[in-house]
């Protein structure tokens, strides 16, 4: 039988690590986020599988034979990928700053993360637009449908992440984000890093691995 001492809610967890008085001793919110991310692996696993199976399927007619891999702009996508990767760094720095109680730095890093995410989304919009200019739309052929579905879903995830980051930024501006809320920022961070690791996979498997 273990004995634990708890402080009143307003005094504990100044270092950002709430003691979780659950039957497991683990934060339920964090556990739920990890379960959600585990299920997201399945969603992206399905979408990536579909793309890999269809990536060389050109349309039947002479006008829809171009597939996304024919018109990838790798140098451009490399820069976008680098930007998203660095946004993971700014995200952990935001969490670290909040843990120290440095609200100004927290806001700066949260805003940087959201802006880097915005640059990534801007790049994706540019890429989609250039594909459309080449005549490769969503219904062009099976390969393009699978490509737009996969990268579009990822883009939606990044956009939702940006909304969450901006919500945290506004909360911080209003003084509602204190070291007691470290776990909230950590959970948004988990989501953000997840969209980053998914892109690490997409960038290698979809963009860089040569198509035979």
């Amino acid at each position: 039988m273990a004995t634990a001492t708890i402080d009143s809610p307003d005094t504990h967890a100044a270092d950002g690590h709430d003691e979780h008085h659950t039957s497991t001793g683990i934060s339920n919110t964090k556990l739920a986020m990890w379960a959600f991310l585990g299920s997201e692996c399945l969603l992206f696993g399905g979408l990536i599988s579909t793309y890999l199976l269809y990536k060389t399927r050109r349309g039947p007619g002479p006008d829809n034979t171009t597939i996304p891999t024919d018109i990838f702009d790798i140098p451009f996508t490399s820069v976008s990928s680098f930007v998203l990767l660095m946004s993971s760094l700014t995200m952990v720095l935001a969490l670290s700053a909040l843990t120290r109680g440095d609200n100004q730095a927290t806001r700066a890093w949260l805003l940087s993360t959201a802006m880097l995410g915005g640059v990534f989304i801007g790049g994706q919009v540019y890429e989609f637009t250039s594909f459309l200019r080449e005549g490769v739309g969503f219904t062009h052929n099976p390969a393009s449908s699978a490509f737009f579905t996969l990268t579009g879903f990822h883009g939606v995830h990044v956009s939702l992440g940006i909304l969450m980051l901006m919500s945290l930024y506004v909360a911080s501006k209003q003084g509602k984000l204190t070291p007691k809320h470290t776990e909230t920022v950590e959970i948004v961070g988990l989501y953000w890093h997840f969209v980053d690791v998914v892109w690490i996979f997409i960038f290698t498997v979809i963009y860089l691995i040569p198509v035979e």
């Binding site: 273990a2 001793g25 964090k30 991310l37 696993g45 680098f82 990767l85 760094l89 860089l208």
Partner: protein
């Protein structure tokens, strides 16, 4: 104010120390270098060894796994957190791989 309570089991395994900012920056630099190497594989003229597709694919897959592992363990704190979080995430990854293998097999044998 503080009070004492008795509980059957309270295990605060997920309480952990975060690495320093400098540690995070070092990890980001490693990730940046690896991304640079990945992009180099696209420009075969930069390193003729990447004219060989087998070498290119192996290099890309190894770098991807290392980058994935670095972000998951350091930025997502899996190496410092309770093991159950890692187990949930790995379970999702294994199931996702299973989905791909089943879909690939279905297309190979019945497609």
């Amino acid at each position: 104010m503080s009070e004492t309570l008795t509980e059957p089991h309270v295990d605060h395994d997920d309480a952990h120390e975060h690495p320093s900012d400098w540690a995070y920056i070092k990890i980001a630099l490693i990730l940046a270098v690896f991304t640079g190497i990945e992009v180099l594989t696209y420009f075969e003229s930069a390193l003729p060894i990447f004219e060989n597709n087998a070498v290119t694919i192996t290099t890309l897959m190894v770098l991807m796994v290392i980058k994935f592992w670095l972000v998951a363990t350091w930025f997502m704190h899996l190496r410092f957190d309770n093991k159950i979080f890692s187990q949930l995430f790995v379970a999702g990854l294994i199931l996702a791989t299973g989905v791909y293998v089943i879909a690939l097999a279905a297309f190979e044998f019945w497609g």
